[in-house]
Symmetry: C2
Subunit: 159 residues, 2 copies
């Protein structure tokens, strides 16, 4: 099945909000055990003694959750060719077990590739937001998308 | 047991290389299934048809692997208080199953906090490197560390 969303569908200034990702205690500990085994991501006591104020998710786990929410909302049904990197990322607040996370997506700009006519570059500003409305993470990054007319190939922008 | 490595141990200009993380096919698929289910991270055929040239790891998975290598080499045995964000990150090459990843760490600068005497800020440039010497990811980011003399508290820099 051909992807539904292509470069042409992204318009500068568009804002959308979506998602409701429940963060579980087990998931926080499992992720940290595998990738970021600092005490405040693994243990209640160490979390309380830290500046986080309690056992909290790895910042990389928060990024992964944002990616999953983006995939579910639009990326896996799009002509995404991947992204070359991250322009800016800030972890603003801790993410705790029990939090429910959603996304605010703003399109900063969208321009056709100067060198490759089959694709365009969309630059997003994503906020990951908890159930009390606090922005826990902000991320600005470009993603390449195939253009509808060009019948672009899917694939990440590593080359 | 008190952490061994503190702010005072990081000196601008220091370069270290470390780690040997074998990337398995199952891990690539498991991570992507949970957090980044784009076809080229899940399926050989879709990977080959993409710009990646084959089934390849999510870029967020690469970041997580870098974090794990950093934890094992120095962070979990340090006075790390976490990091406020990422200044720059580029995914330069795909990461494939079978790759063995290592890290080159350069210390860009290290300065005591102007406002909080118990901590300092170290800015790193990390390269994640595959077994053929290709840099697959580069990341520049600050991490806060407690100062030895001050007997700093562990915890992330969210406040």
């Amino acid at each position: 099945m051909a992807p539904r969303i292509a470069f042409e569908d992204f318009v500068a200034g568009q804002v959308e909000t979506y998602g409701a990702y429940p963060v579980t205690r087990q998931e926080v500990i499992d992720y940290a055990s595998e990738f970021d085994p600092q005490p405040f991501h693994l243990d209640d006591e160490a979390g309380r003694a830290s500046l986080l104020g309690g056992l909290a998710a790895s910042g990389w786990h928060s990024c992964a959750i944002l990616m999953r929410l983006n995939c579910d909302h639009f990326i896996t049904d799009s002509t995404s060719m991947g992204g070359p990197g991250i322009d800016e990322m800030k972890w603003l607040k801790p993410v705790f077990p029990g939090d429910i996370l959603s996304v605010r997506r703003e399109i900063l700009d969208a321009r056709p590739s100067a060198s490759k006519p089959d694709r365009g570059i969309v630059r997003f500003r994503f906020e990951l937001i908890n159930q009390t409305g606090e922005v826990v993470l902000v991320q600005i990054n470009p993603i390449l998308f195939g253009r509808r007319a060009a019948g672009a190939t899917q694939g990440a922008a590593h080359v």
